[in-house]
Symmetry: C2
Subunit: 162 residues, 2 copies
């Protein structure tokens, strides 16, 4: 199939200058603050955003060099199918994080719970709406025994090296 082309709508400025030590999920970020700079031609699309407390960010994992269909995720010691993980070593390295919106200031979004590297190109913003999420029982596979470690685990740079 043909390649698909996207163009960044902005840049995410975060305190995380290298992969090592970066939080692996928004919830494990100690409420890390960050600023999203939206490029001028997209600012009109920010209208009405301030009513939402949480945003879904889709971004390009621009520092990933290691591609692997069966990586060992940060929270495990054995390799897993990449689509059963949130590891950045994906065929299409699209990052997904739900962050808290603090304030919209012109073309700048002030957010909390950032877990991405400084300079990350932003592809899309969508409002987070709990009423659109699944209700009922959810099974989380291999993560069931691991998720309690979430706050102890940090990025160790394994996916930014070849």
């Amino acid at each position: 199939m043909n390649a698909i082309h996207y163009t960044p709508i902005g840049i995410i400025h975060t305190p995380f200058k290298s992969a090592e030590g970066t939080p692996i999920q928004p919830k494990a970020s100690n409420n890390a603050k960050a600023t999203i700079e939206i490029f001028p031609s997209y600012v009109e699309g920010l209208k009405d955003l301030e009513g939402f407390s949480h945003l879904i960010l889709l971004f390009h994992l621009h520092k990933v060099k290691h591609r692997n269909l069966t990586p060992t995720p940060y929270m495990d010691t054995v390799s897993r199918g990449v689509f059963a993980t949130r590891a950045p070593a994906r065929p299409n390295p699209i990052g997904f994080s739900i962050v808290e919106l603090q304030k919209v200031e012109g073309n700048k979004l002030h957010i909390q719970q950032a877990d991405m590297l400084d300079g990350t190109p932003l592809l899309d913003i969508k409002p987070f709406v709990p009423g659109f999420e699944p209700s009922g029982t959810v099974r989380i596979g291999w993560l069931a025994d691991k998720i309690e470690q979430l706050n102890q685990v940090r990025d160790d740079g394994r996916f930014t090296k070849k």
Copy 2:
């Protein structure tokens, strides 16, 4: 900034052959069943997926022709900033749906709660993990007064025409 190139990892086969009448969210799909065909070179990445009941799908909204930074979303009668909506008329038309995984069969994933058009190119699969989601109060802006209509509203094709 430079364009970003992605390559589809598979195709989503759904009952929805045209935009008109397609559900606007998985929850409004009456549990519509669909099959995802993963291309052979990515099948290894499906390992461990069956442990998860729900999957996040990221896909290319390939039929969108109408781009607009302030579209009128399906669930409203006035225009809204596109980043405060889930409307497909986005600068980077990446679709996002959380679906239920029924079964993995070789390179085929049988899912429920499909809300995308037949033939949609799939970009990524991530496990849905409630423990990674925000906890606490969530504000949903203009949608607060509208979300109850979710099951009544269908796609009317507005974003597949120029």
